[in-house]
């Protein structure tokens, strides 16, 4: 990609330290239970754990056998059982079952539960109710910062989204605040903070509280990271709902990247087995294509393959000695490159096949029409046909939500008809799904004209009135309107280009959506960073339903590199497309972004989090 670099982007701090801290604490916790023990690991923690430890490390600390925590009877002969879990009631109940079964069988063992990243009081309550409080040792493993790549740190808490945005439960907020505290201690002090969203504001306050508590022991040091930007996922739902067309995003949409690694099935590996591959900047081939629009990737890969061919061809006509040097010096690198190249070629082929089958071009056309707001009727009948033909339920939901948010809710007639068709095609129990979507504001029905204004004026009074601030929460789903059209106009989110948008030499962040749309989330961040404040964005703030803040934290020299390193914090998840867009923005403006996200998300994950289905239908 050609960039006009203004300044060299500053170097990134080394986040490997975070892995080290997490691992050390885990080892310490394991050593707190001396002697041989069996370790039961919660499925959701296995992939993150794999990124910082391996079996031999666990074994060195006297872990005998490893089990996946499943709802099955335990066959362990060990006298010590250790459980590594997320603080979930069903896990605690399961463990209680084991302990109580042992008690009944008059068997004594030691039990230890390590909660990660924290123990909830609800878990204590369950332990107490099940009569095993005191029989088990509890501890916490503060593992909530996993560097997935040089510039991406994931908290691996996908449930943050559902718990906060759907259920209104603030249990994970303190974890994010602690994460900021750790990062501030290690890589700060941050000199400036910005944010938008109700959750962002609360997390910011909690973090400031933490900083105040540990004020005494702060020493002046040079910060590595200058500013932070906190962003609530519900400020921009449009971007994560769009089909991803940048390579890394596409791979995530199709193969699902899990904790920085992806499993390529036989259709990609062209063999009979699947391969797990780590996708990060260490993968030289991937690193060059991850941020590219998919249409550029093929050309790049074939160029790369031609070069590889030439390299290999060198061995022709070599004598034994030359061949020996070739094998010892070059072959390893070539083989590595070959392996990666063939995997990514395989992935591309597979992506092409799948996308052709699902009428991707039509789909994109509809998405773009929705974003631009024309041919709405045509888009609706496209969505209807999707539903009628029982194309995947998530795909149909995605389009319905895009329609709803771009249009500020569906008009009653459409809402009712689409809802009926959806239930007929995918099952009546999705009544619950649609209710959830209404609650998070992803799929709503427009309130008829008069009542809307009445409610709105009442609402705005409530929202502005500080004393009634509490009440505004109850109406938050009503108050939140997406106002996408207004925002799009105000922020020029739909670029108007004469002729074709050149995806090879992108001019703005819209390239991540084929030039059709500049991601709202990234645009807001750009605007605020440009102004170093929210001033001048008053109308945008109003359309975004407020809750913005900008706060200078300490004096930092404005010229230092750290001022150009920005920690972008996404509460509720961010997508690979957004990461690509901000990397692009960074390159063109001389910033460098570091991403801290509660989890990597995409449209499917976002929607699956609120889908409800019957146990035996799902």
């Amino acid at each position: 990609m050609a960039f006009s670099d203004r300044r060299d982007a500053p170097d990134l701090p080394d986040f490997a330290l975070l892995k080290r801290l997490a691992l050390d604490q885990l080892i310490y916790l394991l050593e707190q239970l001396p002697g041989k023990k069996d370790l039961f690991i919660e499925p959701d923690l296995m992939s993150p754990l794999d990124r910082i430890a391996n079996v031999s490390i666990l074994k060195q600390h006297e872990v005998d056998k490893l089990y996946k925590l499943e709802n099955k009877p335990v066959y362990s002969n060990s006298d010590q059982l250790c459980f590594l879990i997320r603080p979930r009631i069903k896990h605690v109940k399961y463990i209680a079952g084991i302990v109580n079964a042992d008690k009944a069988a008059k068997r004594t063992r030691k039990y230890k539960i390590i909660f990660s990243p924290l123990k909830l009081y609800v878990c204590d309550m369950v332990l107490e109710e099940q009569g095993i409080f005191g029989d088990v040792i509890c501890d916490e493993w503060y593992f909530y910062l996993l560097p997935l790549d040089d510039d991406i740190i994931s908290m691996e808490l996908p449930e943050f989204y559902t718990d906060y945005f759907l259920e209104g439960d603030q249990r994970w907020l303190c974890t994010v605040a602690k994460a900021l505290h750790v990062l501030n201690s290690l890589f700060g002090p941050f000199t400036k903070s910005y944010g938008i969203g109700r959750c962002a504001k609360m997390v910011y306050e909690m973090w400031k509280d933490l900083e105040d508590e540990s004020e005494g022991d702060r020493k002046e040091k040079r910060p590595a990271v200058g500013s932070i930007f906190l962003f609530d996922r519900d400020v921009d739902y449009i971007t994560p709902l769009c089909s991803q067309v940048v390579y890394e995003g596409l791979v995530d949409d199709i193969f699902r990247i899990k904790c920085g690694s992806v499993e390529f099935g036989p259709e990609v590996t062209s063999s009979d087995k699947s391969i797990k591959v780590l996708l990060n900047s260490q993968d030289k081939v991937f690193n060059e294509i991850r941020n590219e629009h998919f249409s550029n990737v093929f050309g790049f890969l074939s160029q790369k393959a031609r070069n590889l061919q030439i390299q290999y061809d060198k061995r022709r006509g070599m004598d034994i000695k030359q061949m020996k040097t070739f094998v010892s010096q070059e072959l390893k690198g070539l083989k590595q490159e070959h392996r990666l190249l063939s995997l990514h070629i395989g992935a591309c082929e597979s992506i092409m096949k799948k996308k052709t089958k699902q009428d991707f071009q039509d789909l994109l056309k509809t998405e773009h029409s929705l974003l631009e707001g024309f041919d709405i009727r045509e888009s609706i009948s496209f969505i209807e046909e999707h539903i009628n033909r029982q194309v995947s339920p998530i795909e149909s939901l995605r389009l319905l939500c895009l329609l709803s948010i771009t249009e500020n809710g569906l008009i009653s007639k459409d809402y009712r008809s689409l809802k009926t068709q959806y239930l007929q095609s995918y099952g009546p129990e999705h009544l619950l799904t649609l209710y959830n979507l209404k609650r998070v504001g992803l799929l709503t029905e427009q309130v008829p004209g008069d009542t809307l204004t009445a409610v709105e004026s009442k609402m705005s009074k409530l929202v502005t009135d500080k004393a009634a601030g509490k009440l505004s929460d109850a109406f938050s789903s009503l108050a939140k309107k997406s106002n996408f059209r207004g925002l799009s106009k105000k922020l020029n989110l739909i670029p108007h280009v004469d002729g074709e948008y050149d995806l090879k030499i992108p001019r703005d962040m819209a390239y991540i959506f084929s030039g059709a749309y500049i991601p709202l989330s990234c645009k807001i961040i750009e605007q605020v960073l440009d102004r170093k404040a929210w001033t001048g964005l008053e109308e945008v703030i109003r359309l975004l339903n407020g809750n913005e803040f900008a706060d200078p934290l300490s004096e930092g020299s404005p010229t230092s590199d750290s001022q150009r390193l920005i920690l972008a914090v996404f509460l509720g998840g961010c997508t690979f497309s957004e990461i690509s867009a901000l990397r692009f923005l960074g390159k063109s403006k001389g910033y460098r972004f570091i991403f801290l996200t509660t989890a990597i998300t995409n449209s499917a994950r976002l929607l699956e989090a609120v889908v409800e289905t019957s146990l035996n239908v799902s």
């Binding site: 209104g168 306050e205 909690m206 087995k273 093929f298 061919q309 007929q424 009544l431 509490k470 239908v617």
Partner: protein
């Protein structure tokens, strides 16, 4: 969602347009494959995988030595024997960088006592030269059990702060309502959901329901936490009491309706829907949906029992030729309609299992009905039925073809079900838009339609171009020649 898989995807999905056309790059792809082959041949020459720095993969595709891999191994080998194999010599994941390579020969507890072994912990100790980190790090690793600063007389603010930090606390002395509410408000003020819930658990235990609910109603944040808590511990009774108290009719109805999903038995679920759900305070629309849910399940139970019997008896040809792949129970309405169009197409409206009856009972729109019936009948290659689907008679007795979904869609679905060209072309001809018709005809090689269309357009050039695309000496070529030699036609070019 596991719908009955009549290979639905195959014909539902259409590909009218090619996505991401890379036609010009096909050559590249070919070259890639060429180079792949070349490179693969090299592998045999120098097969030194043993000292390969690449990650090792087990049969399951997990990197060897990874935890997920090991767990799969230990669960697949017998658990009683269960000794985890020695992984000592296995390599760590390559990206783990310096830290995994170091091997942890040190004891961490010694580290925390300050006995830092020089040299072994380079990056780590470096990081701790900074005082702020030093003071932050021990906080990280002090186990909860070590907190021994139990006092007792903390103020409300102190208590909530202690709870937030996970320290020992006691709520028992907050006995006045005022104290309890201040406790709750303080927890809400600090935004910590975990603490809010803990206070709520205390309040639930020590306050009368009526008073507790009344106060919750005034505190939306606390209320949401309490609702979520009740959902998590699955306390349906209090949850529903709460919704009743708050007058949240929709939530009350939904939470009761949600329970049906946990009933695996079809008859029990049907009865639950009938006795518990139909009269719930839903909006008019939703009440209809719930009623439909009940009716659908009721029908499915009847159809399932009947068809199971029919299939087992082996008397019906359709069941022998196309054995059922799954039970129809709990399937969506559209899937049920599809099923019925496969197995019960000819039945009259009087029977429950007939498509006509389903259509009427559930008010299925014509478009949806035709799409589903078309898919089902085309699947069975029953072209006559397909034809009948689009044939209407007017009052004079003339027949006319009509499709609510557009004939280009019809063609597409037929093509997916490998309808012969003779069948296809009849429907291609019915496409109104000439350009679209031409495109589809070319795409599905309906030569006659292409030729006739060019003839109608009086486009001699295109006809001549097309002549090159049909087989030599084929009837199509003959037809083109015949048309081209027709002097009656006034060509536009």
């Amino acid at each position: 969602m596991s719908r009955i898989k009549f290979d639905e995807e195959e014909y539902w999905n259409s590909s009218k347009f090619q996505a991401f056309t890379f036609d010009d790059e096909d050559d590249d792809l070919f070259q890639l494959k060429e180079s792949k082959r070349a490179v693969n041949s090299l592998r045999e020459i120098v097969d030194n995988d043993e000292d390969d720095e690449l990650e090792k993969y087990s049969w399951s595709g997990e990197p060897v030595g990874s935890i997920s891999w090991s767990i799969k191994e230990s669960s697949s080998s017998s658990r009683a024997a269960g000794e985890v194999r020695n992984q000592g010599q296995q390599r760590c994941q390559s990206n783990a960088g310096p830290l995994s390579k170091q091997g942890s020969s040190y004891s961490l507890s010694s580290l925390f006592k300050g006995l830092n072994k020089p040299g072994t912990l380079n990056s780590f100790s470096d990081a701790f030269t900074d005082t702020s980190i030093k003071s932050f790090a021990p906080e990280l690793r002090r186990p909860k059990a070590e907190y021994q600063d139990y006092g007792g007389d903390w103020s409300i603010e102190d208590t909530v702060r202690r709870m937030k930090r996970g320290k020992v606390y006691s709520l028992e002395r907050f006995r006045s309502l005022k104290d309890k509410l201040q406790l709750l408000d303080e927890a809400v003020r600090l935004h910590d959901g975990n603490v809010i819930t803990a206070v709520l658990i205390f309040l639930k235990r020590t306050l009368g329901t009526e008073i507790f609910f009344r106060e919750l109603e005034l505190r939306p944040v606390a209320l949401q936490h309490f609702i979520h808590f009740l959902q998590e511990i699955n306390d349906q009774k209090i949850l529903q009491d709460l919704f009743r108290f708050l007058d949240h009719a929709e939530e009350l109805a939904l939470s009761m309706y949600r329970e049906n999903l946990n009933i695996p038995n079809a008859e029990e679920r049907r009865d639950f829907l009938k006795t518990k759900c139909i009269r719930l305070p839903f909006s008019a629309d939703d009440a209809t949906h719930i009623k439909d849910h009940y009716t659908l399940l009721e029908r499915q139970i009847i159809i399932e029992a009947n068809d199971k019997h029919l299939e087992a008896s082996g008397q019906e040809e359709i069941f022998r030729k196309h054995p059922r792949k799954a039970s129809i129970l709990f399937m969506p309405l559209v899937t049920t309609l599809f099923y019925s169009c496969i197995y019960h197409y000819t039945e009259g409206e009087g029977t429950f299992s007939s498509p006509a009856n389903l259509k009427k009972t559930f008010r299925i729109p014509e478009k949806q009905y035709v799409l589903t019936a078309l898919a089902a009948r085309a699947k069975l290659r029953a072209w006559h039925d397909v034809d009948a689907l689009f044939t209407t008679k007017n009052w004079l007795g003339y027949t006319k073809k009509k499709a609510p979904i557009g004939f280009h869609r019809v063609v597409e679905i037929l093509h997916k079900n490998s309808a012969p060209v003779q069948v296809l072309q009849d429907y291609v001809r019915l496409v109104d838009d000439v350009d679209l018709k031409l495109n589809i005809a070319i795409k599905y090689k309906c030569h006659n339609v292409v030729i006739d269309t060019y003839k109608d357009l009086k486009d001699r050039h295109q006809l001549m171009v097309y002549r090159c695309k049909v087989d030599r000496n084929s009837p199509e070529e003959e037809k083109i020649d015949h048309i081209l030699s027709n002097l009656q036609i006034r060509w536009k070019n």
